[in-house]
Each structure stands twice: as structure tokens, then as C-alpha cells.
């Protein structure tokens, strides 16, 4: 049981740290907004096109934003020298990862929900009709991004050039998430019921595979 209680305590710590300043959330929201607007200049989409390409752009924006947002995840602990005491405090180091990745998923999901109305207006896509499916795709996609991202931010925090390294390691690894979430989102907007179930199952598989890998190998990531 100590895994869950430890995780709960650490999670509340992560959330309190963030909501005290809301730095991460505000910058990420603004970043996604900027990217979405710049995309619309680059391709100046008609309604037809934006339904086809919009979701891909949205997910690309989310991916870039996440690779920036996950940056401070372990860096902050390292700069303040809190990581070793954190490791001493918990019985299973996996709870550190679990807390961080749940927090990151929540942050990502929150920014996505804030962004969604803007996206719907700018790209003229119907978000509401299949909202529950959209929410499911966003949750599973964000969870996948956060699992891989939390693990890799622990890696990149210990290297030189870390700000550049994290996106470089993370983005190729997230190819499956981008491919599947973008395709499923397109099918939601175009009201074609083809790939939804299979795509969502695939996202679930991605999440489970990387969560298991993190559970097995997480403790080695944090060694001194």
C-alpha cells in the first residue's frame, strides 16, 4: 500500500508546486496557441483541409509543448538537490515517477481542454458531437506522452545540452502516439467510425508497454 500512499503525497506536492505559480500551465497554453496560429498562416486552410490536417497540427503542437513542459520535471529536483532526499523518503522509487507522470498528464490534459475551444474556432472543426471519444483520445495520448516524457526527462536531466536533448530523444519515441491520436482525431471530426476502437486500444497498449518498462527500470534512472 505504501506505493499508493507515497504516490498520493508526492502527487499533491507536484500539484501544489505548480498551482502556486501556474508557470508551466500558462506558458504551455500560450505556446500551443502561438503554434496553432502560426500553422494557420503557414498553410492557410480551407474548412475541408483543416478538418483533415487540423488534428495532426493540434497533436504536433501538443507534442512540442509537452517536450518543453516536461523539461523542468526532473531538472527542478536536481537544481534544488531534492532528488536524493526524495529517494530516501519513499520505499519504492517508482512512486516518484508515478506521481510525476500523473501530474504531467493532468497538466497536459488541462492545457488541451483550455486550447480546445480556440482550436475549434480557428480551424472550424466540430469538437462537441463526439466529445467523450475526443476526451478519451486526449487522455490516453497525454498519458503516453507523459509516461515516455517523464522517463526521458530523468535521462536528459543528467546529460549536457539537456534542453535540446529531451525533444530529440522524446519526439522520435512518440511517433506511434502522434500517428494514432492524429488519425483517430481526424476520424472523429469527419464522423467516420472506422478506426476509433482499434486506435484507442493501440494507445492503451503503448501506455501499458511504457508504464511497465518504467516500473521495471525506473529505479536505475535515478541512481546517483
Amino acid at each position: 500500500m505504501s506505493l499508493f500512499s507515497n504516490t498520493a503525497v508526492l502527487l499533491s506536492k507536484e500539484l501544489r508546486t505548480e498551482f502556486r505559480s501556474r508557470e508551466l500551465l500558462t506558458t504551455t497554453v500560450v505556446f500551443i496557441l502561438v503554434v496553432l496560429i502560426l500553422f494557420s498562416f503557414a498553410i492557410s486552410p480551407t474548412t475541408e483541409e483543416s478538418r483533415e490536417f487540423g488534428p495532426g497540427l493540434l497533436w504536433l503542437a501538443i507534442l512540442f509543448a509537452a517536450s518543453l513542459m516536461l523539461q523542468p520535471c526532473f531538472l527542478r529536483e536536481q537544481n534544488n538537490d531534492t532528488l536524493s532526499s526524495l529517494r530516501l523518503a519513499v520505499s519504492d522509487p517508482f512512486s516518484i515517477f508515478l506521481a510525476k507522470l500523473i501530474a504531467n498528464t493532468l497538466f497536459l490534459l488541462l492545457t488541451e481542454l483550455i486550447m480546445l475551444p480556440f482550436f475549434a474556432i480557428f480551424y472550424n472543426v466540430p469538437v462537441l458531437p463526439e466529445f467523450h471519444w475526443l476526451l478519451l483520445v486526449l487522455s490516453l495520448g497525454s498519458l503516453g506522452i507523459s509516461i515516455a516524457g517523464t522517463a526521458l526527462s530523468a535521462i536528459s536531466a543528467q546529460a549536457r545540452m539537456r534542453e535540446l536533448l529531451l525533444p530529440l530523444l522524446l519526439l522520435p519515441l512518440l511517433t506511434p502516439v502522434l500517428v494514432v491520436s492524429a488519425t483517430v482525431t481526424v476520424s472523429l471530426f469527419e464522423r467516420v467510425p472506422i478506426v476509433k476502437g482499434k486506435g484507442i486500444a493501440f494507445l492503451g497498449v503503448f501506455d501499458v508497454v511504457f508504464l511497465t518498462a518504467l516500473w521495471l527500470f525506473g529505479e536505475y534512472l535515478l541512481e546517483e
Binding site: 522517463a151 536533448l165 530523444l169 522520435p172 511517433t175 493501440f202 508497454v209 518498462a213
Partner: protein, 227 residues
Amino acid sequence: MTKRIIFGGVAILLVIAAAYAAFFIAPEERTMGLIQRIFYFHAATAWAGEMTFFVCFVANLLYVWKRQPKYDWLSVSSAEVGLACITVVLITGPIWAHPVWGIWWTWDARLTSTFVLWLLYVSYLLLRTLVEEPDRRAMLSALFGIFAFLDVPLVFFSIRWWRTQHPQPVIMGGSGSGSGLDPTMSKVFFFSVLAMHMLAAFLIVERYILEKMKSELDFLAREVETQ
């Protein structure tokens, strides 16, 4: 030393023999003609490259488990050799595709996932250059290598199932599955696979010796400094 030279010699002879077989023994493919003879080199190299990445993955796991530097040497060696193989695949692929499809590159499942594979191992080697301390570098890169290898099937199937619905040029050949191949063709193909595996193994051994010497040198340099 002599063993290494013999090993290298055998590997090179096999590769030359495989090229000879591809040009003079394998029958001419009906629709593509001469250009199809790239297949024996291209697909065999791809198989060898995938095999070396698997070796890298096993070495990564062994390092995490046993913590002996030799597994780290093996994993960096096989990652570099695998990257060389996949680079060759990515170069010979377009040379083959151009006369057949009329384009150099298409975002087809196999091409795209090979490219992502290439990118993953480029970032693996990049990560290694950015961590100074040898034990940390070995552990962090081993863990990234494990994540990257787990990602490979996910990349492949996600692209295969969801990216090939869009209209695309007709894609033929390059399957490498061996099914539907003429028996002589498949014999020549598997001989080429053997040859490329020998070449890859030889290169891994050489690269491994280099890595081992590097760590010996580090050790000696530290010893000199302390005196």
C-alpha cells in the same frame, strides 16, 4: 590479431560472393528486371541491421542486470554498426525506388518506420556523447536503448495500420519475407543475408576492440595522473 584478419577476410569474401550470386546466379525478375538485383544487397543489409539492433537491446538488458562494462561496449558497437547498415538501406532504397516508382521517397509504412528506427538510434548515440561519466553514460544509454527498442514494433504497426490508408503509388517488391520468391532467388537472398551478418559481426568485433581500448586508455590516464 590473425584471427581478426581471417574473420574480416571471410566476411569480405562472402560479401563479394553474394554480389556475384546476385548478379550472375539469381534469375532476372520479370517486371523490374536488372534493378531488382539491388534487393539482395538492400534487404539483406536491412535484416543484418535489425539483427544488430536486437544484439544492442540484449546487451542493454545485460548491462542493467550485470553492470559489467563489456556489455556497454557491446551495445555501443552494435548500435553503431546497425546504424551503418540502416544508413546503407536508406541510401540503396531510394536508388532502387527511383527507376521503379518514379520517385525517390514515399511515406510508405516500411520506409517511414525504417527512418524512425534510424532516428531513434541516432539519438541513442547522441545521448552517449552528452554524458561524461562512464558508468552513468552506460546506464542511461542502456535504459534509453531499451525504451527505443520497445518502441520499434509500436512505430512499425502504428504506421502500417494508420498511415497507408491514403492513396499511394503502387508498391511492389522489397518484402524480404521470402514468400513467393523463386527458389534460386531465395537461396541467393539467404546467402546474402548470411554474408551481411558476417560483415556486421566483423565490424561489431572491431568496434568492440576499439571501445575496450578506449576504456583501458582512460584507466591508464587516470593512473598516470595519480602518480
